[in-house]
């Protein structure tokens, strides 16, 4: 939690509000409907669309495409008159740095990456580790066996941020607790985000080994983990959005005690709004606990008894008293 208010180092560009805002959004692989951060971004887009009535175009990335193809996607958006362009996912780093330079009048944003730095690029990153720390605290407090499990969809640094934060949170309240860790697939095999069956198997393994809380940061595979938790009367922790309220997970909602909410939708919405109001800020904007970019959900009321404790930890993180690691 290095800097605590969004847009810490970015300077407001004096650019006046563009007459008409035309938003182009380029998804990462998975696109709209991935039940993960792409969907979250989509929600933000939809909100902006309905509130400001802005014109939007959504484009999807394909499995196995090159930087050149991503760059082409961004350029085509710019060429077709989009002046607010949002790239979802760090995979757009290179593509964006090339494209943004050629369209200075357009405003770009990239989700989940601190690079590239440019006058017309906003880098919207999230402190997933901080949010994960808090749900780790929840897990630690709620676990009776002192044994909890983390399931990562695909073994990437991004997902590892969830893991390390979670583990640190658990240990903070139960130093001697066991945290089981399993990644479903290794990159570039990204099926780990789409294979509920694997999620179930992994979760069962952890539950059989004594875990009673499972935290799946595994996109669509998470549903499988929750199924397992439900079958064995264990607890689950949602990720990315408040999954307790996700229709797709209605049948397992009662095992979801909390969720690590990563407000990509907020970030996207804010960004569009900012540009529309002529408030565009370039540079790094960390969405962390302090700024409410990440948080823990309380829907379902399963953790009402411990909310105060969790809030304490939140304060400590915000105040910098607790430093949450984001890498192993």
């Amino acid at each position: 939690a290095s800097d605590t208010q969004p847009g810490g180092d970015g300077g407001t560009s004096g650019a006046p509000a563009p007459s008409t805002v035309k938003v182009g959004l380029a998804y990462d692989i998975g696109g709209r409907g991935d039940q993960s951060f792409n969907d979250s971004a989509a929600r933000g887009l939809d909100k902006a669309k309905s509130e400001f009535g802005v014109e939007v175009t959504e484009l999807e990335a394909a499995q196995g495409e090159t930087d050149a193809q991503k760059e082409d996607r961004l350029r085509q958006l710019a060429e077709s008159g989009h002046n607010v362009i949002i790239a979802v996912g760090f995979a757009y780093e290179k593509a964006l740095s090339a494209a943004a330079a050629d369209y200075p009048e357009a405003k770009f944003a990239i989700i989940d990456s601190a690079a590239p730095e440019a006058a017309n690029v906003a880098n919207l990153t999230f402190a997933e580790h901080e949010g994960s720390f808090l749900v780790g605290v929840v897990a630690g407090l709620k676990s009776k066996t002192g044994n909890v499990g983390f399931i990562g969809g695909v073994n990437t640094p991004l997902i590892q941020k969830f893991e390390v934060g979670f583990e640190q949170g658990v240990k903070a309240v139960k130093p001697d607790a066991t945290v089981q860790v399993k990644y479903l697939t290794q990159p570039p095999d990204f099926t780990g985000f789409n294979d509920p069956a694997k999620g179930t198997t992994a979760a069962n393994g952890m539950l059989d080994a004594g875990a009673d809380v499972i935290y799946p940061a595994a996109g669509g595979s998470g549903a499988g983990a929750f199924e397992a938790a439900k079958a064995k009367g264990a607890m689950g922790i949602g990720v990315d959005s408040d999954q307790y309220n996700l229709p797709a997970l209605a049948n397992v909602k009662d095992v979801i005690i909390t969720s690590m909410v990563k407000n990509v939708d907020v970030a996207v919405y804010d960004f569009i709004k900012a540009v529309k109001d002529g408030q565009f800020k370039s540079g790094l904007q960390v969405y962390d606990l302090a700024s409410g970019g990440v948080s823990f959900a309380t829907s379902g009321g399963k953790i009402d008894d411990i909310v105060p404790q969790v809030e304490e930890y939140k304060e400590k993180i915000v105040s910098g008293e607790i430093q949450v690691k984001d890498t192993k």
Binding site: E60, Q63, G64, A68, T156, P157, Q186, P188
Partner: protein
Amino acid sequence: MRTLSARSVLLGLAAPLGALLFAVLVCALILIVSGHSPVTAVDSLLTSASRPRTTVNSINSAIGYYLAAVAVAIGFRMKLFNIGVDGQYRLAAMLSAALAGAAFMESLPSFLRVTMTVVAAMLVGAVWAGIAALLKVTRGVSEVITTIMLNAIATNLVAYLLNPDRLAEAVPGSNNISTRPITEGGQVPGIAIPGSTSALFGLVFLAVAVGVGYWFLFGRTRLGFEIKATGLSESAAVASGVSVKKMVLLSMLLSGAVAGLIGLPQLLGSSHSYALDFPPGLGFIGIAVALLGRNHPIGMAFAALLWGFLDNSSTSLDIAGVPREIVLIMQGVIVLSVVVAYELVRRYRVRAEQRDVGRALAIQKSPEEVSV
């Protein structure tokens, strides 16, 4: 390898063109049924075709696809199905990227550096394919299984090595992770194309060279002949003094070596490091392209270009509101209709050939039964 007659040239052209036409019709139908306008689709295809950047990107993609196709085709020529091209090139790209990026390389002259990278990639690819070959000749294990398995194993191996404690370095602030970036001297400069922001990969010449080598191998050399013969009839090859085991080893190693090259144009021309987002899956595209190009050096080149173009114009379709999965469907339809057309033409060829045989027989015999 037959002498070109006017007929065979004509037929050679008839097949792909007719097929393409058919494919377009089918796709138009799909579009209409799914409530999209074929006109806008075709229109956006044409615009993207006329856009230099897209053209260059298409060719750049095609370079990788072509290399992949050649790697697969070498196996096909002797009935070896190397499904493992994918794993071979990913492992090769990753390791050669680590080598090319290594600090000690920076002192070396650029040419030597690139050469070492290329050689390393070929070696890695060959070794990975060699495992399958070895198991095949010593234990008769079907290369279909081993290469499928080795693909998965390669994935795990790469993931293991692509780790800050090993061959990778974490870029602070980034969620990506990659091998140490290859500095100027280790890269292969692209060829700037007027009107296009992306440059043509310098290693396009490598692909051309590989294509020529492939043609020469099977058209002119003894090794190529023996590989071909083994593919056509193992027993006849053995009786003719061909060592099948040797051929399996050689062709699989060759296939693997070429597979090792697949990632290099992208790596040395654009990515400059092997990262999480390095394009996977080219090995499988290679299978489709090889079959589409019927293992022919030129045919595969056209197939690769077609594939590259379709992949790179999918964004234009996307913008025009044509969902990208329709592009997948198109590709499938094209593959099918092209091969169906080829098959029909081939049948016609065979009949024609027999007709010639018949005439020859008739003439050499007495004239009376020439009258059909």
